[in-house]
Symmetry: D3
Subunit: 69 residues, 6 copies
Protein backbone atom coordinates (compact mmCIF):
# COMPACT_ATOMS: atom_id res chain seq x y z
CA UNK A 1 0.00 0.00 0.00
CA UNK A 2 -0.67 2.36 -1.55
CA UNK A 3 -1.66 0.65 -4.78
CA UNK A 4 -2.18 2.60 -8.01
CA UNK A 5 -4.28 1.03 -10.75
CA UNK A 6 -3.97 2.72 -14.13
CA UNK A 7 -6.66 2.21 -16.76
CA UNK A 8 -4.67 3.52 -19.69
CA UNK A 9 -3.97 3.10 -23.39
CA UNK A 10 -1.52 0.72 -25.05
CA UNK A 11 2.03 1.86 -24.38
CA UNK A 12 5.59 0.70 -24.96
CA UNK A 13 7.88 -0.46 -22.19
CA UNK A 14 9.81 2.81 -21.88
CA UNK A 15 6.57 4.73 -21.39
CA UNK A 16 5.43 2.30 -18.71
CA UNK A 17 8.82 2.43 -17.00
CA UNK A 18 8.66 6.22 -16.80
CA UNK A 19 5.03 6.13 -15.66
CA UNK A 20 5.80 3.72 -12.80
CA UNK A 21 8.89 5.68 -11.74
CA UNK A 22 7.12 9.04 -11.64
CA UNK A 23 3.77 7.90 -10.20
CA UNK A 24 5.70 6.18 -7.42
CA UNK A 25 7.70 9.34 -6.66
CA UNK A 26 4.50 11.38 -6.37
CA UNK A 27 2.74 8.84 -4.16
CA UNK A 28 5.77 8.53 -1.88
CA UNK A 29 6.17 12.28 -1.48
CA UNK A 30 2.48 13.09 -1.00
CA UNK A 31 1.62 10.24 1.37
CA UNK A 32 5.05 9.99 3.03
CA UNK A 33 5.31 6.22 2.52
CA UNK A 34 7.89 3.95 0.93
CA UNK A 35 6.10 0.92 -0.54
CA UNK A 36 4.09 1.61 -3.67
CA UNK A 37 2.64 -0.88 -6.15
CA UNK A 38 1.39 0.05 -9.60
CA UNK A 39 -0.70 -2.07 -11.96
CA UNK A 40 -1.14 -0.82 -15.53
CA UNK A 41 -4.12 -2.13 -17.47
CA UNK A 42 -3.62 -1.43 -21.18
CA UNK A 43 -6.99 -1.01 -22.86
CA UNK A 44 -7.81 -1.20 -26.57
CA UNK A 45 -9.60 1.94 -27.75
CA UNK A 46 -12.65 -0.18 -28.60
CA UNK A 47 -12.89 -1.16 -24.91
CA UNK A 48 -13.21 2.40 -23.64
CA UNK A 49 -16.35 4.51 -23.71
CA UNK A 50 -16.35 8.30 -23.53
CA UNK A 51 -19.76 9.92 -23.12
CA UNK A 52 -21.55 7.08 -24.89
CA UNK A 53 -19.14 6.45 -27.75
CA UNK A 54 -16.30 3.99 -28.14
CA UNK A 55 -12.96 5.79 -27.97
CA UNK A 56 -12.02 4.02 -31.23
CA UNK A 57 -15.01 5.71 -32.94
CA UNK A 58 -14.23 9.10 -31.40
CA UNK A 59 -10.64 8.93 -32.68
CA UNK A 60 -11.73 7.80 -36.14
CA UNK A 61 -14.17 10.71 -36.40
CA UNK A 62 -11.55 13.19 -35.26
CA UNK A 63 -9.06 11.88 -37.79
CA UNK A 64 -11.63 12.13 -40.59
CA UNK A 65 -12.09 15.77 -39.63
CA UNK A 66 -8.36 16.45 -39.39
CA UNK A 67 -8.97 17.27 -35.73
CA UNK A 68 -6.86 16.81 -32.65
CA UNK A 69 -7.36 15.09 -29.31
CA UNK B 1 -17.19 10.65 -13.22
CA UNK B 2 -19.07 8.48 -12.98
CA UNK B 3 -16.86 5.65 -14.20
CA UNK B 4 -18.25 2.23 -15.06
CA UNK B 5 -15.91 -0.74 -15.08
CA UNK B 6 -17.29 -3.85 -16.74
CA UNK B 7 -15.77 -7.26 -15.99
CA UNK B 8 -17.32 -9.09 -18.90
CA UNK B 9 -16.79 -11.81 -21.49
CA UNK B 10 -15.08 -11.51 -24.88
CA UNK B 11 -17.27 -9.49 -27.22
CA UNK B 12 -17.16 -8.02 -30.71
CA UNK B 13 -16.98 -4.31 -31.40
CA UNK B 14 -20.69 -3.86 -32.16
CA UNK B 15 -21.61 -5.44 -28.84
CA UNK B 16 -19.21 -3.17 -26.99
CA UNK B 17 -20.48 -0.11 -28.88
CA UNK B 18 -24.06 -0.89 -27.88
CA UNK B 19 -23.01 -1.63 -24.30
CA UNK B 20 -21.21 1.71 -23.94
CA UNK B 21 -24.09 3.64 -25.53
CA UNK B 22 -26.76 2.11 -23.34
CA UNK B 23 -24.85 1.99 -20.05
CA UNK B 24 -24.03 5.67 -20.54
CA UNK B 25 -27.68 6.55 -21.16
CA UNK B 26 -28.72 4.79 -17.95
CA UNK B 27 -26.01 6.40 -15.85
CA UNK B 28 -26.80 9.86 -17.23
CA UNK B 29 -30.52 9.52 -16.59
CA UNK B 30 -30.26 7.98 -13.13
CA UNK B 31 -27.52 10.24 -11.75
CA UNK B 32 -28.43 13.34 -13.77
CA UNK B 33 -24.87 13.87 -15.02
CA UNK B 34 -23.30 14.30 -18.45
CA UNK B 35 -19.77 12.89 -18.36
CA UNK B 36 -19.57 9.11 -18.19
CA UNK B 37 -16.53 6.90 -18.79
CA UNK B 38 -16.73 3.16 -19.37
CA UNK B 39 -13.88 0.64 -19.31
CA UNK B 40 -14.61 -2.87 -20.54
CA UNK B 41 -12.31 -5.64 -19.35
CA UNK B 42 -12.79 -8.72 -21.55
CA UNK B 43 -12.03 -11.84 -19.54
CA UNK B 44 -11.27 -15.34 -20.83
CA UNK B 45 -13.63 -17.92 -19.33
CA UNK B 46 -10.64 -19.61 -17.69
CA UNK B 47 -9.97 -16.37 -15.75
CA UNK B 48 -13.39 -16.26 -14.10
CA UNK B 49 -14.49 -18.32 -11.10
CA UNK B 50 -18.10 -19.03 -10.25
CA UNK B 51 -18.68 -20.68 -6.88
CA UNK B 52 -15.30 -22.36 -6.90
CA UNK B 53 -15.14 -23.51 -10.52
CA UNK B 54 -13.58 -21.91 -13.57
CA UNK B 55 -16.30 -20.61 -15.88
CA UNK B 56 -14.58 -22.52 -18.72
CA UNK B 57 -15.15 -25.77 -16.79
CA UNK B 58 -18.75 -24.87 -15.95
CA UNK B 59 -19.52 -24.20 -19.62
CA UNK B 60 -17.81 -27.42 -20.74
CA UNK B 61 -19.83 -29.47 -18.25
CA UNK B 62 -23.07 -27.82 -19.32
CA UNK B 63 -22.31 -28.49 -22.96
CA UNK B 64 -21.57 -32.15 -22.25
CA UNK B 65 -24.97 -32.37 -20.59
CA UNK B 66 -26.76 -30.53 -23.38
CA UNK B 67 -27.69 -27.94 -20.79
CA UNK B 68 -28.19 -24.22 -21.01
CA UNK B 69 -26.81 -21.22 -19.12
CA UNK C 1 -20.34 -12.56 -14.38
CA UNK C 2 -20.60 -10.00 -15.76
CA UNK C 3 -19.73 -7.68 -12.89
CA UNK C 4 -20.32 -3.95 -13.10
CA UNK C 5 -18.36 -1.68 -10.77
CA UNK C 6 -19.66 1.86 -10.55
CA UNK C 7 -17.41 4.66 -9.27
CA UNK C 8 -20.15 7.18 -8.67
CA UNK C 9 -21.31 9.99 -6.39
CA UNK C 10 -23.23 9.73 -3.14
CA UNK C 11 -26.80 8.66 -3.86
CA UNK C 12 -29.95 7.68 -1.99
CA UNK C 13 -31.36 4.17 -1.95
CA UNK C 14 -34.02 4.78 -4.61
CA UNK C 15 -31.39 6.08 -7.01
CA UNK C 16 -29.21 3.05 -6.42
CA UNK C 17 -32.17 0.69 -6.78
CA UNK C 18 -33.03 2.19 -10.17
CA UNK C 19 -29.39 2.16 -11.23
CA UNK C 20 -28.98 -1.52 -10.42
CA UNK C 21 -32.25 -2.46 -12.12
CA UNK C 22 -31.49 -0.61 -15.32
CA UNK C 23 -27.78 -1.42 -15.61
CA UNK C 24 -28.66 -5.08 -15.16
CA UNK C 25 -31.30 -4.93 -17.90
CA UNK C 26 -28.79 -3.42 -20.32
CA UNK C 27 -26.07 -5.92 -19.51
CA UNK C 28 -28.47 -8.86 -19.84
CA UNK C 29 -29.80 -7.69 -23.19
CA UNK C 30 -26.47 -6.75 -24.74
CA UNK C 31 -24.47 -9.78 -23.57
CA UNK C 32 -27.37 -12.25 -23.58
CA UNK C 33 -26.65 -13.49 -20.06
CA UNK C 34 -28.73 -13.82 -16.90
CA UNK C 35 -26.44 -13.37 -13.88
CA UNK C 36 -25.26 -9.82 -13.31
CA UNK C 37 -23.61 -8.37 -10.20
CA UNK C 38 -23.26 -4.66 -9.54
CA UNK C 39 -21.10 -2.96 -6.93
CA UNK C 40 -21.60 0.76 -6.34
CA UNK C 41 -18.74 2.69 -4.78
CA UNK C 42 -20.02 6.04 -3.51
CA UNK C 43 -17.21 8.59 -3.62
CA UNK C 44 -17.00 11.93 -1.80
CA UNK C 45 -16.37 14.80 -4.24
CA UNK C 46 -13.04 15.45 -2.50
CA UNK C 47 -11.93 11.91 -3.48
CA UNK C 48 -12.39 12.43 -7.21
CA UNK C 49 -10.02 14.27 -9.51
CA UNK C 50 -11.01 15.76 -12.85
CA UNK C 51 -8.15 17.04 -15.00
CA UNK C 52 -5.99 17.81 -12.00
CA UNK C 53 -8.58 19.35 -9.67
CA UNK C 54 -10.65 17.84 -6.90
CA UNK C 55 -14.28 17.56 -7.99
CA UNK C 56 -15.22 19.35 -4.74
CA UNK C 57 -13.14 22.35 -5.84
CA UNK C 58 -14.55 22.28 -9.39
CA UNK C 59 -18.12 22.31 -8.03
CA UNK C 60 -17.34 25.12 -5.57
CA UNK C 61 -15.86 27.26 -8.36
CA UNK C 62 -18.84 26.64 -10.60
CA UNK C 63 -21.24 27.55 -7.84
CA UNK C 64 -19.34 30.78 -7.15
CA UNK C 65 -19.73 31.64 -10.82
CA UNK C 66 -23.40 30.68 -10.93
CA UNK C 67 -22.44 28.12 -13.53
CA UNK C 68 -23.81 24.68 -14.31
CA UNK C 69 -22.29 21.22 -14.59
CA UNK D 1 -9.20 8.13 -20.01
CA UNK D 2 -6.75 7.50 -18.54
CA UNK D 3 -8.27 6.73 -15.17
CA UNK D 4 -6.15 6.37 -12.04
CA UNK D 5 -7.57 4.47 -9.09
CA UNK D 6 -5.67 4.94 -5.84
CA UNK D 7 -6.06 2.43 -3.01
CA UNK D 8 -4.57 4.55 -0.30
CA UNK D 9 -4.74 5.47 3.38
CA UNK D 10 -7.01 8.04 5.03
CA UNK D 11 -5.88 11.53 4.08
CA UNK D 12 -6.96 15.14 4.52
CA UNK D 13 -8.27 17.28 1.69
CA UNK D 14 -5.01 19.14 1.07
CA UNK D 15 -3.15 15.85 0.67
CA UNK D 16 -5.74 14.60 -1.80
CA UNK D 17 -5.69 17.89 -3.70
CA UNK D 18 -1.91 17.66 -4.11
CA UNK D 19 -2.11 13.97 -5.04
CA UNK D 20 -4.67 14.61 -7.79
CA UNK D 21 -2.75 17.60 -9.14
CA UNK D 22 0.57 15.79 -9.33
CA UNK D 23 -0.66 12.38 -10.51
CA UNK D 24 -2.53 14.16 -13.30
CA UNK D 25 0.60 16.09 -14.36
CA UNK D 26 2.57 12.84 -14.57
CA UNK D 27 -0.09 10.99 -16.52
CA UNK D 28 -0.51 13.88 -18.97
CA UNK D 29 3.21 14.20 -19.60
CA UNK D 30 3.96 10.50 -19.91
CA UNK D 31 0.96 9.53 -22.06
CA UNK D 32 0.64 12.86 -23.89
CA UNK D 33 -3.09 13.18 -23.18
CA UNK D 34 -5.24 15.88 -21.61
CA UNK D 35 -8.19 14.22 -19.86
CA UNK D 36 -7.32 12.39 -16.67
CA UNK D 37 -9.68 11.13 -13.96
CA UNK D 38 -8.56 10.06 -10.50
CA UNK D 39 -10.55 8.14 -7.90
CA UNK D 40 -9.11 7.89 -4.39
CA UNK D 41 -10.32 5.04 -2.21
CA UNK D 42 -9.40 5.74 1.42
CA UNK D 43 -8.91 2.47 3.26
CA UNK D 44 -8.89 1.88 7.01
CA UNK D 45 -5.70 0.13 8.12
CA UNK D 46 -7.79 -2.83 9.27
CA UNK D 47 -8.99 -3.28 5.67
CA UNK D 48 -5.52 -3.73 4.21
CA UNK D 49 -3.43 -6.89 4.34
CA UNK D 50 0.34 -6.94 3.96
CA UNK D 51 1.90 -10.39 3.65
CA UNK D 52 -0.84 -12.02 5.67
CA UNK D 53 -1.28 -9.45 8.43
CA UNK D 54 -3.69 -6.55 8.80
CA UNK D 55 -1.87 -3.26 8.32
CA UNK D 56 -3.43 -2.11 11.62
CA UNK D 57 -1.68 -5.01 13.39
CA UNK D 58 1.62 -4.36 11.62
CA UNK D 59 1.56 -0.71 12.69
CA UNK D 60 0.64 -1.58 16.26
CA UNK D 61 3.55 -4.04 16.51
CA UNK D 62 5.96 -1.52 15.06
CA UNK D 63 4.82 1.12 17.52
CA UNK D 64 5.23 -1.28 20.44
CA UNK D 65 8.80 -1.85 19.29
CA UNK D 66 9.53 1.82 18.74
CA UNK D 67 10.17 0.91 15.12
CA UNK D 68 9.64 2.78 11.89
CA UNK D 69 7.78 2.05 8.64
CA UNK E 1 2.09 -8.41 -6.38
CA UNK E 2 -0.13 -10.27 -6.39
CA UNK E 3 -2.87 -7.96 -5.16
CA UNK E 4 -6.24 -9.26 -4.01
CA UNK E 5 -9.19 -6.87 -3.97
CA UNK E 6 -12.20 -8.11 -2.04
CA UNK E 7 -15.63 -6.61 -2.67
CA UNK E 8 -17.30 -7.98 0.42
CA UNK E 9 -19.85 -7.25 3.13
CA UNK E 10 -19.33 -5.34 6.38
CA UNK E 11 -17.20 -7.43 8.74
CA UNK E 12 -15.52 -7.12 12.13
CA UNK E 13 -11.77 -6.95 12.58
CA UNK E 14 -11.32 -10.60 13.53
CA UNK E 15 -13.11 -11.69 10.37
CA UNK E 16 -10.92 -9.45 8.24
CA UNK E 17 -7.77 -10.63 10.05
CA UNK E 18 -8.65 -14.26 9.30
CA UNK E 19 -9.58 -13.42 5.71
CA UNK E 20 -6.26 -11.69 5.05
CA UNK E 21 -4.27 -14.47 6.69
CA UNK E 22 -5.94 -17.27 4.76
CA UNK E 23 -6.24 -15.55 1.36
CA UNK E 24 -2.53 -14.75 1.60
CA UNK E 25 -1.65 -18.37 2.38
CA UNK E 26 -3.61 -19.57 -0.66
CA UNK E 27 -2.09 -17.00 -3.01
CA UNK E 28 1.42 -17.75 -1.78
CA UNK E 29 1.02 -21.51 -2.18
CA UNK E 30 -0.71 -21.43 -5.57
CA UNK E 31 1.48 -18.79 -7.22
CA UNK E 32 4.70 -19.63 -5.34
CA UNK E 33 5.33 -16.00 -4.35
CA UNK E 34 5.97 -14.25 -1.05
CA UNK E 35 4.59 -10.70 -1.27
CA UNK E 36 0.80 -10.47 -1.23
CA UNK E 37 -1.34 -7.38 -0.67
CA UNK E 38 -5.04 -7.50 0.13
CA UNK E 39 -7.54 -4.63 0.04
CA UNK E 40 -10.98 -5.23 1.53
CA UNK E 41 -13.80 -2.98 0.37
CA UNK E 42 -16.73 -3.29 2.77
CA UNK E 43 -19.96 -2.62 0.91
CA UNK E 44 -23.37 -1.74 2.36
CA UNK E 45 -26.06 -4.16 1.15
CA UNK E 46 -27.80 -1.25 -0.57
CA UNK E 47 -24.69 -0.74 -2.71
CA UNK E 48 -24.71 -4.24 -4.17
CA UNK E 49 -26.94 -5.47 -6.97
CA UNK E 50 -27.73 -9.12 -7.57
CA UNK E 51 -29.58 -9.88 -10.81
CA UNK E 52 -31.24 -6.49 -10.88
CA UNK E 53 -32.17 -6.10 -7.21
CA UNK E 54 -30.39 -4.40 -4.35
CA UNK E 55 -28.95 -6.98 -1.97
CA UNK E 56 -30.68 -5.09 0.87
CA UNK E 57 -34.04 -5.73 -0.82
CA UNK E 58 -33.23 -9.38 -1.50
CA UNK E 59 -32.35 -9.95 2.16
CA UNK E 60 -35.47 -8.14 3.38
CA UNK E 61 -37.68 -10.29 1.14
CA UNK E 62 -36.00 -13.48 2.31
CA UNK E 63 -36.44 -12.48 5.93
CA UNK E 64 -40.14 -11.73 5.39
CA UNK E 65 -40.48 -15.23 3.97
CA UNK E 66 -38.51 -16.86 6.77
CA UNK E 67 -36.09 -18.02 4.10
CA UNK E 68 -32.36 -18.53 4.13
CA UNK E 69 -29.46 -17.22 2.03
CA UNK F 1 -21.08 -11.20 -3.70
CA UNK F 2 -18.44 -11.42 -2.45
CA UNK F 3 -16.28 -10.74 -5.50
CA UNK F 4 -12.54 -11.37 -5.49
CA UNK F 5 -10.40 -9.57 -8.05
CA UNK F 6 -6.88 -10.93 -8.41
CA UNK F 7 -4.15 -8.79 -9.97
CA UNK F 8 -1.70 -11.58 -10.57
CA UNK F 9 0.97 -12.90 -12.92
CA UNK F 10 0.50 -15.02 -16.03
CA UNK F 11 -0.55 -18.53 -15.03
CA UNK F 12 -1.66 -21.77 -16.65
CA UNK F 13 -5.18 -23.13 -16.41
CA UNK F 14 -4.46 -25.63 -13.64
CA UNK F 15 -2.99 -22.89 -11.47
CA UNK F 16 -6.03 -20.69 -12.02
CA UNK F 17 -8.38 -23.62 -11.33
CA UNK F 18 -6.68 -24.29 -8.01
CA UNK F 19 -6.62 -20.58 -7.15
CA UNK F 20 -10.37 -20.19 -7.77
CA UNK F 21 -11.21 -23.35 -5.84
CA UNK F 22 -9.17 -22.43 -2.78
CA UNK F 23 -9.92 -18.69 -2.67
CA UNK F 24 -13.62 -19.55 -2.86
CA UNK F 25 -13.32 -22.03 0.02
CA UNK F 26 -11.65 -19.40 2.20
CA UNK F 27 -14.17 -16.68 1.37
CA UNK F 28 -17.11 -19.04 2.02
CA UNK F 29 -15.75 -20.17 5.37
CA UNK F 30 -14.69 -16.78 6.64
CA UNK F 31 -17.77 -14.82 5.54
CA UNK F 32 -20.28 -17.69 5.88
CA UNK F 33 -21.71 -17.16 2.38
CA UNK F 34 -22.24 -19.42 -0.62
CA UNK F 35 -21.95 -17.32 -3.78
CA UNK F 36 -18.43 -16.21 -4.63
CA UNK F 37 -17.15 -14.77 -7.91
CA UNK F 38 -13.48 -14.49 -8.81
CA UNK F 39 -11.92 -12.51 -11.64
CA UNK F 40 -8.25 -13.10 -12.41
CA UNK F 41 -6.39 -10.35 -14.25
CA UNK F 42 -3.13 -11.75 -15.63
CA UNK F 43 -0.55 -8.97 -15.85
CA UNK F 44 2.67 -8.89 -17.87
CA UNK F 45 5.68 -8.18 -15.65
CA UNK F 46 6.25 -4.96 -17.61
CA UNK F 47 2.80 -3.74 -16.50
CA UNK F 48 3.53 -3.99 -12.79
CA UNK F 49 5.52 -1.50 -10.75
CA UNK F 50 7.21 -2.33 -7.45
CA UNK F 51 8.63 0.63 -5.54
CA UNK F 52 9.24 2.61 -8.71
CA UNK F 53 10.62 -0.13 -10.96
CA UNK F 54 8.93 -2.35 -13.52
CA UNK F 55 8.69 -5.90 -12.20
CA UNK F 56 10.27 -7.05 -15.48
CA UNK F 57 13.34 -4.95 -14.68
CA UNK F 58 13.47 -6.14 -11.06
CA UNK F 59 13.39 -9.77 -12.20
CA UNK F 60 16.08 -9.17 -14.86
CA UNK F 61 18.39 -7.57 -12.30
CA UNK F 62 17.87 -10.40 -9.85
CA UNK F 63 18.61 -12.97 -12.51
CA UNK F 64 21.82 -11.15 -13.51
CA UNK F 65 22.89 -11.34 -9.87
CA UNK F 66 21.91 -14.98 -9.46
CA UNK F 67 19.49 -13.81 -6.80
CA UNK F 68 16.11 -15.09 -5.70
CA UNK F 69 12.64 -13.54 -5.36
Amino acid sequence: MPIIIVEGPKADKDTKRELVKRLTEVVREVYGVHHVSVVIHENETENVGINGELLSDVLRHRKAQGGKS
